[in-house]
Symmetry: C2
Subunit: 509 residues, 2 copies
């Protein structure tokens, strides 16, 4: 994985090497400056991928040969020999400490792995907050992601962020994420008449003689149309055939896609007819899906029809047939569904989940904070691009209600803050004033997962990561959790760290 | 690659198989409904990747075992045996014809490969149009893409769309795209004083005694500061040390990053001092980079300083030192650079190139157009989601000036339109009226690249694809090429295809 980097990392690596500085002890931090989507929270994700890449961090002979061909011809041979010996065995992560040259080389790779993973996990968490705990959320972004690997990342990190399942079969196979899916318009369109349905018979669940399902569905369609006052000739026969054929293939898992033709006059009566036919044979339909039009309004109309059919045909489960929707679903769509009191039970989200159009990149950065024992900071014309110097420990402070209310950065050598004790701190963005806070609980956030070239703590499974993320999110206070104009989540520094910062600022300017 | 698909493709595949319809001849088309970014053009890309996946289209034993675990338990064993025998040997591409089940299964994979590739290639082409032919454009999106593979796609398809180079070393190694890069703030920050510079000497290009470069640069810095009326104590010594050290490592390729501290009072004089020192030894600096602040204004100030230094120290090449910029560059940034008459020579684009925030997904779809010899179309409540039925040939029509002015869809069995002959056509979106057009040249767009399970025509190299794309773009008329409110590029159907469409519409409704 070592060549997964920006070229300037290699020219700088040569610069460090040529100057004999490549083994200076150095430390860098990976962080973001603003929470994504104008929210107050973010899920950090991508760490396990990062660890895998750290473990595999090597330049192969072919890599070195390629680098020899693109670096300036004045680059000394011994540098390439040195590159071939490199590994990440002296570097822990996500606070990264190790030899200067390696700390430098890791920047791009780690950013690449953490940025999108955290962004899409956070995006998924926002959808989960809006949808509430009971709504089923399904990730369907494979065809809209940045190629196969982008899609796999989207599936994995959406699951961590709170989605229930994915349409991506490869993600299911590789990561064990539940996969779901039913039928598309193309399947419905591939039928034109009931004559095409083969085989035609289905065995009743309780046993007995096989039943001609197309004939049964056709006769039930007459009754449904009467009940709903729809002219039967307006229903599409290809659609009915597709539903019947699918029901024979999957009698326990029949789901209808309602909007290939007209939902009200064709998709809905055809679905009800086939579902009622299945009911007569002892099976239950598992749902319907809508992929166009006003989804919230249609869901209410569909629920009314289900209730009417359930009552008329005395099929109680008809009332609660799950209604799934898709079609460019965004946060705004979810807000509309709630506002309109929709009857939607399951939502498929693709483009707006995987491409994160509200903010397509997280903007994490990776900055040197210490070299050879002396702290480093960057001061530029952009105040926001300033960095906080020194190797730090980070604590999450919780209030009496169990909500985190602040993350506090301290110098590594400072004693840990104690629960119940007053702390003098300065909040980033308002460094001029000191505040006092008294945390009820103090949680150190750093843990060492990589040391001496090895992953030194067992990595949690994907369901464990997902449940850890969901628990963390549930602890957020409502003011920080809300998606629009949340109360900013404060990040603060200790007085000692602030003193260092002020000192370095004066020296540098 | 076969499991790279949405789960419903497999439930539908079972539906087709169970109904004995899986080997019906079928045809599908992959297309988009609206050009991306509100523009009138798009580059189609991702075809070679698609071909590679078609060639490798198989379900392995492990894939089949996994599918057995996720499909309903009623799924018959013989279906899994059948899946294990599948390949794409009967399917051509990008118009996809073959057995119904395989045509269905390929949908998601092809969309995944073509959608992002085409989107980012088109996005790159837009940046190229805005920047003009002489500006160097560099792709630097690795850390902002959807993981490593998304980043590699971004590098490859940005190059096709008109970028000159990438920062992504792995993309350079795998695809042969030129890689570029210099130094980051972290490199500058890792130095604090000239004492750290090791080695200190550089041999003059023409031979002779080695020169102490830090000492030479320090004395030249005095003169530069005098000329520019800057207090020398305001220049940062760590920055000067970093520049000197880098210049000793890369005397032929020295480039300075100016904004780690203050551009005007530190970065610029330090750079000039080191560049002048190199000049005395016979070398030339290759450029500077800016990564914050008002880039256009600063570039003009920097150019003035270069001119002043060039004149004062009698170094003519100083006037034309290339100025590179980065920092969240968007189309809007490029427009500002032009408006302000900037002196920028090279632009690095990351986030706004690879994540395409103006439109983060292309929205290609893949629709069945024929099954078992009979045309299929989809009619829904959304008029825009209607499809054009039947297997078609597509022609690009050119006017006398050599500009393409229309793409025309005809039924496969229709005779090809002839150059110079009047054609009766109907434009999509205005199907009610017939228009007459006389093309000067007619180009059939379909070519067969995949047949009988083999790629049947040699694939062009990446530089050939790039040059084909650039030639195609250069043929666009100014009205279609412009990025804001372009004249829509018309897509039309022949009268015969329109008749089929009308017929099917009446039957279906």
């Amino acid at each position: 994985m070592a060549p997964l980097t920006d070229f300037y990392q290699l020219t700088m690596a040569y610069g460090h090497w040529r100057a004999g500085r490549h083994r200076l002890p150095a430390a860098a931090e990976l962080f973001f400056r603003r929470g994504p989507f104008r929210g107050a929270f973010a899920l950090a994700a991508g760490l396990a991928e990062g660890l895998r890449c750290l473990r595999a961090f090597r330049f192969s002979a072919a890599d070195v040969a390629y680098l020899r061909s693109v670096l300036p011809s004045t680059t000394e041979d011994a540098f390439f020999d040195y590159l071939a010996t490199l590994d990440a065995s002296e570097v822990p992560f996500l606070q990264v400490k190790g030899p200067l040259l390696v700390v430098q080389l890791l920047e791009t790779m780690l950013l690449c792995l953490v940025n999108y993973a955290s962004l899409v996990a956070t995006n998924a968490a926002r959808f989960r907050f809006l949808a509430g705990p009971d709504m089923k959320l399904m990730e369907i972004g494979l065809r809209r992601a940045q190629g196969p690997d982008g899609a796999l990342s989207a599936s994995k990190y959406s699951y961590i962020g709170g989605f229930d399942c994915t349409s991506n079969v490869l993600a299911g196979k590789l990561y064990g994420i539940p996969v779901r899916g039913t039928i598309a318009h193309s399947f419905v369109m591939s039928f034109t008449s009931l004559e095409e349905v083969q085989p035609r018979e289905l065995l009743p669940l309780a046993g007995g003689e096989p039943v001609d399902l197309p004939a049964l569905a056709k006769s039930l369609l007459q009754q449904v149309c009467e009940l709903l006052q729809i002219p039967p000739e307006k229903t599409n026969r290809g659609e009915l055939a597709a539903f019947v054929s699918y029901a024979i293939s999957f009698p326990h898992d029949f789901q209808g896609l309602l909007d290939t033709y007209c939902v009200r006059r064709s998709g809905l009566p055809n679905f009800c007819a086939v579902a009622l036919a299945l009911h007569q044979l002892g099976y239950r339909a598992v749902g319907v899906r809508l992929d166009s039009g006003d989804l919230a309004q249609q869901s209410k109309e569909i629920r009314r029809v289900f209730r009417a059919c359930g009552a008329h045909f005395q099929v109680p489960w008809f009332e609660t047939i799950p209604i799934a929707v898709s079609n460019d679903i965004s946060e705004q769509s979810l807000e509309e569904f709630i506002r309109e009191g929709s009857e939607i039970d399951m939502i498929g989200v693709g483009t707006n989940l995987v491409t994160c159009p509200l903010q397509p990149s997280l903007g994490c950065v990776y900055k040197l904070v210490e070299v050879n024992g002396s702290p480093r900071m960057k001061l530029t014309e952009d105040e926001e691009k300033m960095t906080i110097p020194g190797i730090k420990t980070i604590y999450r402070l919780y209030d009496a209600a169990g909500h985190p209310f602040m993350d506090l950065m301290a110098l590594e050598e400072e004693p840990s803050p104690s629960a119940g004790q007053e702390l003098a701190i300065r909040v980033l963005g308002r460094l001029g004033e000191t505040s006092k806070v008294v945390p009820t609980t103090v949680e150190p956030l750093h843990r060492t997962y990589f040391r001496d070239g090895q992953v030194c703590e067992p990595l949690p499974s994907l369901p464990e990561v997902r449940s850890h993320a969901q628990v963390s999110l549930s602890l957020l206070s409502p003011a920080h959790r809300r998606l629009h104009e949340p109360q900013p989540y404060p990040v603060a520094v200790t007085e000692r760290l602030h003193n260092l910062l002020t000192e370095l600022r004066q020296v540098t300017q």
